[in-house]
């Protein structure tokens, strides 16, 4: 993916988008986390508040409950006390209201029971430490009550005795006041208790207020803490995000296979990626923090320094091609792209040496293919191939060895070697060449491999041993027909897989060419034989034909011939004439093909030629009843062609038009000048040519399907001959036709120089 970056803008955009995307993601995540953290903290706060609140409330509740129960207890006591004191008195008074001693006794008994309970209650109060009643108040109450109880007992006794009057008197005098005192005491105690309760309540209230205040403080502290915590968390997250983004960016930068260098505003190198380390042969620690120009003095002289300055000034991207830089091993060619940005400049270095080499290999292979095509003989091919291969690798020593299966010998048609001379053809032996031939596989043989093979008994030494030997088979199909080999005698000069690949390709080209040459040679000889045969046959045919023709001419001139005989002779003459035409055509074709018919170009007027032809065929046109029209003859420029042959061309085309147009048709000849060409066209309203046949129209012996209906005797040579003549004259001929509508044949010829 990264290697696909042709421009750094895209790359930077990409990096930005990657980084931005990650930052965005992290920010989102942080937001989410912040939300979660806030929730968590709120939860904690609520829980804390809840805990404190529960504790405080529990305390308050306990206190309140204590207060409540105390109050209830006290109220119970007071109520009971009030009730029981009242009861003693009430019961006593009830006993006054009756005279029945039984009831009086009962009432008195009730009074005394209540009295007992009062005593118990008071004693209960007094037993408590500290007494809820207050010790003093309790004791006074007890004393007062005892006084009252005594008086009351007396009153009761008096009542029971029946001394009502005395009883009432006693009660009024002593009982009632003393009871009043008791009542006052009880009320006093109630007041005391109420006061105490109020105090207690006030204390609880204070405690509650205190706890509320505490909770408020805790809440405030929690919120502050939460804020700080969230802030810290966010800070941490952002830091992590930035670090993550940075790490990713660094990874991306490291993974680029283009050297990347960032130079800060101060001119010091800030960033130096791995690809830069490799392609510029400088370790990161050696360059980061140093000025770029100091580390590479070459660059100071080069256009890079100027480029960086320019890029900075204009704020534009600058691409510097062919930046030459001498590194420790060799001269390297770089393409540098300079991108200015706020904090400095980014420079991408791309070592194009490899690419150039690849281009060279490609060009060389292309050249090898070209040479293979162009080579007229194998010797040339081997020479040019050697030159090409030598460009690509140290192939001073190269040889081609071919195997002849019939004689079972190995010949060396091409052999260049520093040490050995060309070996004579030999029977198969145990050399490396034979090994490759045998296995049919390429062999890259440094001495180690050679040793191994020797140990296995696969090969033996032939000739001077090389430092490195590389041989590839020349293959015809699956068979090896020879070997192409390079070898090096120089220590340290070896071949590798790349060389093997190149050589394999070249070998394939050579094998193909050898094969093609062989096929071509076979074909040429076959064609020659055929051509010779046709030419011979036609020549031989023409002599007897001439004899026949002349005999028939003479016979026709004989007088007193019967009408029947005369018609036989006429038929014979026609047939002979046709046969002569065919033989002439064949002869022309054969001569043209074999190159024996030499064109004799002259300044020729197509108009004159056409008129001549039309004169010859006028009686045929009349016979068929065709309407002929000719246009464009005036001012037609001359062309440089062979007039004899072109007469034949025009005649052929006109007679075709006449022959394949039904009677009463229209034939139109048009000629004219078109730019630097002269155009001649003939249009008829004939049977036309089926679309499928049009492509083969000009092939030798080809006849369209529909012509057999009209004339069966054609040879299919006419149009072939026409095309050959037009082609040889530097022209072009073609046909437009529609079946049953008509055809247009036209040719163009270049203007002869004399016409301008």
């Amino acid at each position: 993916m990264l290697s696909g970056f042709c421009g750094c803008k895209e790359f930077i955009q990409w990096v930005k988008s990657v980084g931005q995307g990650r930052v965005d993601r992290v920010i989102n995540m942080t937001k989410r986390r912040r939300f979660e953290a806030t929730l968590l903290l709120i939860g904690l706060i609520v829980a804390g508040i809840g805990g404190f609140a529960i504790r405080d409330l529990r305390r308050a509740t306990q206190e309140t409950w204590q207060m409540h129960s105390d109050m209830v207890h006290a109220l119970d006591l007071i109520t009971e006390l009030q009730y029981q004191t009242q009861e003693t008195r009430r019961s006593m008074l009830y006993s006054l209201t009756t005279t029945d001693p039984n009831l009086q006794v009962n009432y008195a008994e009730g009074s005394r029971a209540a009295d007992k309970r009062v005593i118990q209650l008071i004693a209960g109060y007094l037993n408590l430490t500290p007494s809820p009643l207050g010790d003093v108040a309790g004791k006074r109450l007890l004393r007062d009550w005892q006084n009252y109880a005594k008086t009351r007992d007396d009153v009761v006794a008096l009542i029971l005795e029946g001394s009502v009057k005395e009883a009432v008197q006693l009660d009024l005098r002593a009982g009632f006041p003393s009871f009043d005192r008791v009542r006052d005491d009880v009320n006093g105690i109630e007041q005391i208790y109420k006061r105490r309760s109020e105090n207690q309540f006030a204390e609880v209230k204070r405690a509650f207020n205190r706890s509320i205040l505490r909770l408020g403080i805790i809440l405030c502290l929690s919120i502050i803490f939460a804020g700080v915590a969230v802030g810290q968390l966010e800070k941490g997250q952002l830091l992590e995000a930035i670090q993550g983004s940075e790490a990713r960016l660094r990874e991306v930068i490291e993974s680029i296979n283009e050297g990347m260098c960032v130079v800060g505003r101060d001119g010091l190198v800030d960033l130096w990626n791995r690809a830069a380390e490799v392609s510029l042969r400088r370790r990161r620690q050696d360059i980061v923090g140093h000025p770029l120009m100091e580390v590479f003095p070459d660059l100071q002289e080069s256009r890079l320094a100027a480029g960086i300055t320019e890029a900075r000034q204009n704020g534009t991207t600058i691409v510097l091609e062919d930046l030459q830089l001498t590194l420790e091993d060799a001269r390297h060619i770089f393409v540098a792209r300079v991108f200015p940005f706020e904090g400095g400049t980014t420079i991408f270095f791309n070592d194009v040496g490899e690419r150039k080499r690849a281009e060279k290999v490609q060009a060389a292979t292309f050249r090898a293919a070209e040479a293979a095509n162009a080579a007229s003989n194998l010797e040339d091919l081997f020479q040019s191939t050697h030159a090409i291969v030598n460009d690509l690798m140290p192939a001073k020593n190269l040889y081609v060895s071919l195997y002849n299966p019939e004689s079972e010998t190995l010949s060396f048609p091409y052999f260049i070697d520093e040490h050995d001379s060309t070996p004579a053809p030999r029977k198969l032996k145990g050399g490396l060449t034979e090994y490759v031939l045998r296995t049919g596989n390429a062999l890259l043989a440094p001495p180690k491999v050679v040793e191994e093979l020797k140990e296995k008994g696969q090969i033996e030494d032939i000739g001077t041993p090389s430092v490195c030997w590389l041989g590839v088979p020349l293959k015809k199909g699956d068979d090896s027909v020879g070997v192409l080999a390079v070898q090096s005698y120089t220590e340290g000069v070896t071949f590798g897989e790349e060389e093997q690949k190149i050589l394999t390709f070249v070998a394939a080209q050579i094998a193909m060419t050898i094969e093609r040459k062989r096929a071509e040679a076979e074909l040429t000889s076959a064609l020659q034989m055929k051509s010779d045969f046709v030419s011979f046959a036609t020549h031989q045919l023409r002599t007897p034909l001439a004899g026949i023709k002349w005999s028939l001419e003479l016979a026709a001139q004989e007088e007193n011939l019967s009408e029947e005989t005369a018609s036989f002779i006429q038929d014979g003459r026609d047939s002979a004439q046709r046969l002569i035409g065919m033989v002439n055509d064949l002869l022309d074709v054969s001569r043209l093909e074999s190159g024996k018919l030499k064109l004799a170009p002259k300044e020729t007027s197509l108009a004159e030629l056409t008129q001549g032809v039309l004169k010859d065929v006028s009686h045929q046109i009349e016979k068929q009843g065709h309407h002929l029209s000719v246009s464009g003859m005036e001012g037609i420029p001359t062309v440089l062609v062979d007039p004899q042959l072109f007469r034949q061309v025009i005649l052929n085309m006109v007679s075709n038009a006449i022959k394949y147009t039904p009677s009463g048709g229209k034939i139109d000849i048009n000629m004219g000048r078109e730019n630097s060409l002269v155009r001649w066209a003939i249009t008829d309203t004939g049977i036309g040519i089926p679309k499928a046949n049009q492509a083969h129209l000009f092939e030798k012996f080809y006849r369209a399907e529909n012509v057999y209906k009209i004339e069966t005797e054609g040879t299919g040579l006419g149009l072939h001959l026409v095309k050959m003549i037009v082609d040889k004259s530097g022209g072009r001929i073609w046909c437009e036709s529609e079946e049953n509508k008509g055809s247009t044949f036209q040719f163009t010829l270049p203007l002869s120089g004399g016409n301008g």
Binding site: P101, N102, V105, N106, E109, A157, L160, E161, G162, S163
Partner: protein, 184 residues
């Protein structure tokens, strides 16, 4: 027999209930002296009770007669004497009238009316319907005196001796056998 056999569950149930009631009542008799006093089945003697504060410990039958018939109105410590009687028709009252006052009911009624009429006695005796009432009354009134069966008393009152003899001792004049014999 057929009737019994047919109603065996019913008889059984009734028996069980009766047995339960009988069982349940037994402890209450033993544990509650007041209840036994009210039942009238305990006590073989007639005892005289005074208020605890009373200085009187011992009285002769004559003293008792005088006190109960209102001929004495005050105790030696100056407390007014209040006589408590039980309702008419009770065994104790009859025995008391017979043994102490040597009167029957009608004699006594006549005597009381006469005494009230002449003014010899003021207010007359207080009459209570139960022994428990008598005991309570006596306990509440310092100058009161009453009679009950022995065993019907409690700590709230003081039993006095008669001629120096306590009711539990040999020679007590108002034994229950005698009491039973004096019935009309």
């Amino acid at each position: 027999m057929i009737l019994v056999r047919k109603n065996v569950p019913w008889f059984t149930a009734v028996l069980v209930i009766l047995a339960y009631l009988g069982w349940g009542r037994a402890p209450s008799i033993r544990g509650n002296p007041e209840a036994s006093a009210q039942s009238g089945r305990s006590g073989r003697s007639l005892v005289f009770i005074v208020n605890k504060v009373s200085p009187v410990d011992n009285l002769s039958p004559q003293d008792l007669r005088r006190v109960f018939l209102g001929e004495r109105t005050k105790w030696p410590d100056g407390h007014k004497i209040t006589v408590v009687m039980q309702d008419q028709g009770t065994e104790e009252r009859d025995a008391f009238l017979h043994l102490v006052c040597h009167m029957n009911e009608s004699d006594y009624t006549r005597y009381v009316l006469q005494a009230a009429f002449t003014g010899a006695v003021q207010g007359g005796p207080r009459v209570l319907s139960s022994a428990a009432g008598v005991v309570k009354f006596v306990s509440l009134v310092p100058g009161a005196i009453g009679y009950v069966r022995s065993g019907e008393t409690d700590d709230s009152v003081k039993i006095i001796k008669v001629d120096g003899v306590s009711p539990n001792a040999e020679g007590y004049k108002f034994g229950i056998i005698k009491l039973g014999k004096v019935q009309h």
